[in-house]
């Protein structure tokens, strides 16, 4: 690990200024991903700006212009958010997604903001002996020709086939969450679905954030739709593993007719994949297994796979059927 300066500012504005003013500075939050990367040499900042202790650590309900919103401070720990009574009753998909991630110890450490900004677990990104465009722009992508079981099937590029690892981000994408960001020019609000980006020819950039931008909170709308929501995650072992594929869904039924629906996928793309094409196909019609399968297939029409990861397509389709039929059964109970 190279020499490292450390700063613990008292407020968010000072933290933003410290990172913006330095050519090679990074924010440190829970550290569950970044500290590992420092050890591995995946990243080598000269200055760490510690935002773990900033006072963005509460969860409050407030009235937004479009209804009640749960405002979650960026420093709130994953375990505290998952256990929050209002989240469990009003937005279960987000609680379930958090509980499906990492281990209890890590959830006590990891923060809301940090979870969203964690880096891919593509094996080549973490392996310094192999080229990776995300780690070193222009170096080449080892996953294209190499071990490709975890590779993205939607929205990948010739430069990068990595997937985003966060469970939380997938659930937040499904429930129309908004990320509040403080930058050098002040505060702005970014829909969660626009926080992460597709790799294109700049896979080194995971998000649309600029240098010095600090996530200060996440707003989760407390809608009727989100009340009936859940998260399903397929993985290689029962616990403590990243998603092979995952599905967050929310469903509002009028009898058997889909009044409104949300679907987001994880393990599929470089960002949480909001399946708007599938949602549009389902709205206004009856909720049947057949229609969910067709809607998911429409969303997956552009999927590009190899023989190593082709199984992801039927797996995410079937998981989507599982999620929405379970929510429909719950609605009819």
């Amino acid at each position: 690990m190279r020499e490292l300066a450390y700063l613990r500012p008292d407020d968010a504005a000072a933290a933003v200024a410290a990172v913006a003013d330095h050519p090679n500075a990074m924010f440190l939050a829970g550290g569950t991903n970044l500290v590992d990367h420092l050890k591995l040499g995946v990243t080598a900042p000269e200055l760490l700006v510690d935002v773990r202790g900033l006072p963005h650590d509460d969860i409050v309900e407030h009235d937004g212009p479009d209804g009640p919103v749960l405002c979650v401070g960026a420093a709130v720990r994953n375990s505290d958010l998952a256990a929050h009574p209002l989240l469990r009753s009003r937005v279960p998909a987000v609680s379930r997604a958090l509980l499906a991630g990492a281990s209890p110890q890590i959830r006590h450490q990891a923060t809301t903001g940090g979870n969203l900004l964690q880096r891919t677990r593509c094996v080549y990104f973490q392996d310094l002996s192999t080229p990776c465009n995300k780690r070193e722009p222009g170096a080449g992508c080892s996953a294209l020709e190499g071990y490709g079981r975890y590779n993205a099937v939607l929205g990948a590029s010739d430069d990068c086939v990595a997937v985003h690892p966060s469970d939380l981000a997938v659930a937040l994408a499904a429930v129309d969450a908004v990320v509040v960001v403080l930058g050098v020019d002040g505060e702005r609000r970014i829909p969660l679905v626009d926080l992460h980006r597709l790799p294109g020819d700049r896979p080194d950039l995971d998000t649309t954030l600029a240098r010095g931008d600090l996530v200060t909170s996440v707003e989760i709308p407390l809608t009727d739709l989100a009340r009936r929501s859940t998260y399903v995650k397929a993985r290689d072992r029962a616990s403590y593993a990243f998603a092979l594929v995952s599905v967050a869904g929310a469903l509002d039924l009028d009898g058997d007719t889909v009044r409104d629906v949300r679907i987001a996928w994880g393990g599929i793309a470089h960002k949480p994949w909001r399946a708007t094409r599938a949602e549009d196909a389902l709205r206004g019609g009856p909720l049947t297994e057949e229609r969910v399968r067709e809607a998911a297939e429409a969303e997956l029409a552009d999927a590009r796979t190899t023989e190593q990861n082709a199984w992801k397509v039927p797996m995410v389709r079937n998981a989507t059927v599982q999620v929405l039929t379970a929510l429909a059964e719950e609605a009819h109970r």
């Binding site: 569950t32 500290v35 050890k39 773990r52 375990s79 009753s89 281990s103 209890p104 450490q109 029962a238």
Partner: protein, 174 residues
Amino acid sequence: MIKLTIDGTEREVSVDTRTTLLDALRERLDVTSPKKGCDHGQCGSCTVLLDGRRHLTCLALAVSYDGSDIVTADGLAGAGDGAEGDDLHPVQEAFLAHDGYQCGYCTPGQVCSAVGMLDELKEGHPSHVTEDLEGSPEPTDEELRERMSGNLCRCGAYVGILDAVREAAGEVTA
């Protein structure tokens, strides 16, 4: 210079910014109860109770934890209800009674994790396998296994660990 309260004793140590909490404890302060297993947050053997919650020390920079209160498995002795001095914590007793280990390397982490886990259960925190998110989770085997899944045991003493944790859970929730 950072200050840490470790097993009830206040300690001061000067650390490089790159030093992890685990290395500060083991190499600088001679607190060797937390073990270095994978050193990448994958095994749980470095688990301590930090400000009352189970926490990894390998994925934590010591400078960031100035002022923290740390309890290691070593410090749990004498910490049970009505315990004195070297009396083992009920969770430690349960691990002994049920052979919750073979080589013992992961045990301090397992024990700290189990103590933290039982507190979470008492507070009604849900887990991945909790069916009713709004209900009070019960210490079923399925719940205990999921809640202990952050601690690996390469000897595979999971059957004994589960027996130990089940007994301790019975005492806590009874």
